[in-house]
Symmetry: C2
Subunit: 271 residues, 2 copies
């Protein structure tokens, strides 16, 4: 029987941080990834557009017969998760619930920060999910619209990145946070800089890593998980709507893979 | 509508470490707990007996209309999870899968240790589940049959406990483990001593805490989670087959609760 892949979708390269965890925690699983780099960032876009773009990526992966869909993008999760989950027969998982859950698990002083795109912060979905579970937790959110472009332009380790992160995150200083959710899958690439700015005592929650625990739970629960084989046979395919070369550079670097199958695709009406 | 509780079962007080995490991570959920203290420990018992006892606790909680069952005991999970999960209409979760998953997530050098009861270690269920997911991980198991009696007799912070733990765990020294699964829900009560013996660099996996993340995932997935109310209304009830006083002492201490509703019950043929 042909192995079915898990599908991952993101506005660009950010979801690769989720894929990296999937490769580590679920090495037997095949992975198909779509990064809508040509239309990234999603953060400042109107909801209807994010919903439409997310459905376009989803339809593309459904045509590849995936067994589960991971919306590896906070902005798309906030807007499209409920709709897509309701309409698909396969399990669909977003990145906001796992991040919220992990923050509640992590915090001792009940003061949790969230950084994300404008779209994610405006949606207030993290606050809502955290408060649904535990209304004793205080949640402080901050939109960081400059972070995604830094990552997508492969500038995420530059001196500029350090400056931008330090300036953007100033409002979170002296807020007594003990936990900070990286509420955008692009942000783990900026992790060392973010940790340095916010301080060593704050636990950073990588919603991507948490999402993979949840993917693993649901795979097991539905008996969909691939078991180890003598000969490894998992397949990884990457699709981007933007520059194949740029995507290949960031992905191979971040995932530590020399050989990487990247294909350029067109979705809807590229801008 | 009456709130339905999550049911927890254990051979004794060990499952309280799972309940503690449930109270922390899922404060809105009602909890019913059965500890089969009169017939504890389960570790050295034959499988058929463990299966029978676990079903007796399950039947008791089903009569209380629980919405989900957590087998908060590694020995009972190894023997009875599959059977009970197959036969019940509500979600059923054990502690071994979440612990295995968390160990894979935690390890960097692929050397994971497991300590547990004789029953759990003999079942090889941790090894099997870890290898099904990632056969690159080396797993080293050690049965620690003296640990549960230390906890059940409320001796878990004594000088004797320190000595017993240090002697029992000697075979794990110099094994280059970076992760150790506390493969018995009683063991988190011995956590400071275990951490001291194994060294600060080894990450201890509390399968109970991990199990609650999984409970939370499944509750959300099935839309069974309780949301925060203005007036907290969650209910906690504890049932023991043994001494009400002893159970009350350990539970109130461990859970940090002064008021605790404990009832003694009889299951099957108490020995």
């Amino acid at each position: 029987m042909k192995k079915q892949a898990i599908g991952f979708i993101d506005s660009g390269v950010g979801g690769l941080t989720v894929v990296k965890e999937a490769m580590r925690q679920l090495p037997n699983e095949s992975i198909y990834y779509v990064g809508d780099t040509a239309r990234c960032p999603y953060g400042p876009r109107p909801q209807e557009q994010v919903l439409q773009f997310t459905w376009e990526m989803t339809q593309f992966l459904l045509s590849k017969d995936i067994k589960m869909l991971v919306i590896a993008c906070n902005t798309a999760t906030a807007v499209a998760l409920e709709d897509i989950k309701k309409k698909l027969a396969i399990p669909v998982i977003g990145v906001i619930m796992p991040g919220s859950r992990a923050a509640i698990k992590s915090t001792s002083n009940n003061r949790v920060g969230i950084i994300g795109t404008e779209g994610t912060v405006k949606s207030k979905m993290y606050e809502q999910l955290i408060h649904d579970k535990d209304n004793q937790v205080e949640v402080i959110s901050l939109a960081c619209p400059k972070f995604v472009p830094l990552v997508e332009s492969n500038e995420y380790r530059s001196a500029i990145a350090k400056k931008v992160v330090a300036e953007t995150m100033k409002p979170l200083k002296n807020k007594q946070l003990d936990t900070l959710i990286l509420g955008c899958t692009h942000y783990p690439l900026l992790r060392p800089i973010i940790q340095n700015v916010i301080g060593e005592n704050v636990t950073l929650i990588d919603s991507g890593a948490e999402t993979i625990s949840e993917v693993s739970t649901i795979l097991d629960y539905y008996d969909l998980a691939e078991k180890s084989q003598k000969k490894p046979s998992s397949e990884r395919k990457f699709y981007t709507t933007g520059s194949k070369q740029m995507f290949h550079d960031i992905a191979s670097q971040w995932l530590g893979l020399k050989e990487l199958e990247v294909e350029q695709i067109h979705l809807g009406t590229a801008e």
